[in-house]
Symmetry: C2
Subunit: 130 residues, 2 copies
């Protein structure tokens, strides 16, 4: 049950909401809602006992998973890695990945995709203080 | 008081932690810790009454802010936009931005930078199901 809604669009910006993250459920993708051009970002939840039902890898995109709540395991090229709130997992395109909830509460995370090696500068070298 | 720590590095992946997000404080950047190549991702908190003390814009990077908890305002080219948990704000490079906490509790958010127009494909067109 997606709660994704576009709240506001302006000249050079857009705002969407997936609802309060403390009670987030389902799976929502932001790219189309926000007209993102440099990344795709999704929110996902796995219920207790649930796993992503397939392994996958990527052609050119780096992925970063940020765990918001719950506990789970990422399996990366066959290796299990336990994660919890505040953990961030960077995965190169060609690594085979899957993840599952290993706790009794929802396992909720953000997944960010961006083209590997596309970032040329950031923060102090890309930002302009006014 | 950063709690950022590198937990694990493997062939094609890396795991870091900023600590439990329910009690996150300070400001932490992930790019160097995780060797990210397509994005910079940071976690930030503003205390009650606190604001980012400067306006800024970017040269080439799109930014996406995801609000984890608390309430705040983003000022984008002079326009105030109220945000709360689950809101996501896309901002084009040239938009002048600032943000502040407008509530009584910490205002905590993730900021993602990626090069504008760098994403060529994603999800179904970049992912390979195995």
């Amino acid at each position: 049950m997606s709660q994704l809604k576009i709240k506001q669009k302006g000249n050079g910006y857009a705002v969407a909401s997936v609802g309060n993250l403390a009670t987030f459920g389902g799976k929502d993708f932001l790219k189309d809602a926000l007209s993102l051009t440099g990344m795709e970002v999704s929110f996902g939840t796995l219920a207790a006992g649930e796993a992503v039902p397939f392994n996958h890898k990527h052609k050119q995109n780096e992925e970063l998973y940020i765990v918001l709540s719950g506990t789970g395991v990422f399996t990366l090229d066959g290796e299990d890695i336990a994660v919890e709130s505040g953990d961030a997992v960077r995965i190169d395109p060609n690594v085979v990945r899957c993840n599952r909830n290993t706790g009794a509460t929802p396992f909720t995370y953000i997944c960010i995709q961006a083209k590997a090696n596309s970032l040329e500068q950031c923060t102090a070298t890309d930002g302009v203080i006014l």
